[in-house]
């Protein structure tokens, strides 16, 4: 069973994401703040990280930077799932080696699950 870390500060959206991913058979752990995300990435066996960018205390870019520096997660696929969409944000995420960038409101939760399935194979 693949393990996914969902980083999302909006509890309502997080609930929908987690519900869907559990239904798809994934093991899901969550973080609601940047600080919490920095703790959770120390866990073993994370196969994919779904990462929001606008987060309390540490933002998603800082979390992403740490993900890439952390021994355990430096090669873990990171799917940025945010409501930011400006070129400078997309470029920044790319520079920090995010694997993909999706704008939340442009996808349904099913399409998100399909994307994750495609990455995890």
């Amino acid at each position: 069973m693949s393990k996914i870390l969902v980083v999302e500060d909006d509890s309502f959206l997080q609930g929908l994401e987690v519900g869907k991913l559990k239904k798809e058979g994934y093991d899901v752990i969550t973080a609601s703040t940047g600080k919490e995300a920095l703790e959770k990435i120390k866990e073993d066996g994370i196969d994919l990280i779904l990462l929001d960018l606008v987060l309390p205390n540490f933002d998603g870019f800082e979390v992403l930077k740490e993900i890439r520096e952390n021994e355990k997660t430096k090669k873990t696929p990171v799917l940025v799932f945010s409501n930011l969409s400006e070129e400078k944000d997309i470029k920044k995420a790319e520079d920090l080696k995010a694997n993909d960038f999706m704008v939340k409101s442009n996808f349904t939760i099913d399409e998100l699950a399909q994307k994750i399935k495609a990455i995890l194979g």
Binding site: D10, F12, L13, L16, V54, N83, L84, S85, E86, E87, V103, K104, S105, N106, T108, I109, D110
Partner: protein, 253 residues
């Protein structure tokens, strides 16, 4: 005289500051709106997919209307952000030498997936003779082409062709995007570039759309000292024309 100039400079700085506060505000609220819109979209979709259980046909038809209405709002927010971005960088357009033939080839390639999905043939007729490079903001001109191609495909019928062509006319490069779709009625021709305007037959064909695409395109083209216009007949289609001057970078700002 120099005092006057100094005063103007200060005023100009102040205006720039105000404009930047305004665009930050738009940007923040648009991103906040997207959070709620996403939640609505996801939940309505779950109902429509019957993830939450069976619904009656009548319920389905209403939920579908709500979903489409929400999609319109999402499109509006997306366009608002594009427009905001365009206004923001209009103050500092980045002009560079651009090979338009190459740019249009790139864009038509990017649309190939979507056009085949919609069974529309997207064709770019390359110019016979060489076309000089123009000085423009590549990303902004890309937005214009994207809008025109998207519209042409959106308002075409299954199996139609959308044809782009390009040629140099004196000191301008002229590009046309031709479709054989629903066309624009005579009554509505004068409003087509207005902010938020959508023609009746356009709304009928595609309820999702904000009415900002052509408005934004016109703004961008005019910032390049270019022209945009169209020819259209109801039911037989529309051709949009774009003329961009071949200028030296120093002439444009």
């Amino acid at each position: 005289m120099s005092e006057e100039l100094e005063k103007l400079k200060i005023e100009n700085e102040e205006l720039k500051k105000q404009n930047s506060v305004k665009s930050d505000l738009i940007s923040i609220s648009a991103h906040q709106l997207r959070t709620s819109l996403s939640a609505l979209k996801w939940i309505l979709k779950m109902f429509l997919d019957k993830d939450i259980g069976p619904i009656t046909n009548e319920q389905e038809s209403f939920i579908n209307k709500a979903y489409i209405s929400n999609e319109r709002m999402i499109a509006l927010v997306n366009d608002m952000l594009t427009l905001n971005h365009a206004e923001e960088i209009a103050l500092s357009f980045k002009f560079e030498k651009v090979d338009l033939v190459k740019l249009v080839e790139e864009i038509t390639f990017e649309f190939s997936g979507e056009s085949s999905k919609k069974h529309i043939e997207l064709i770019f007729l390359r110019p016979d003779a060489d076309v000089l490079e123009i000085s423009c903001d590549r990303e902004m001109i890309r937005v214009v082409f994207q809008n025109l191609i998207e519209n042409a495909m959106k308002y075409s019928n299954d199996g139609d062709k959308v044809i782009l062509s390009m040629q140099q006319r004196n000191d301008n490069v002229e590009i046309s995007v031709r479709d054989t779709g629903i066309g624009i009625t005579d009554d509505e021709k004068s409003k087509i570039f207005e902010k938020f305007f959508r023609a009746d037959n356009a709304k009928e064909k595609d309820p999702v759309g904000s009415g900002l695409g052509l408005f934004t395109s016109k703004n961008i083209v005019e910032h390049h000292k270019g022209k945009i216009w169209f020819d259209s007949n109801e039911k037989s289609g529309t051709t949009f024309y774009l003329s961009l001057p071949i200028l030296k970078a120093s002439d444009t700002i």
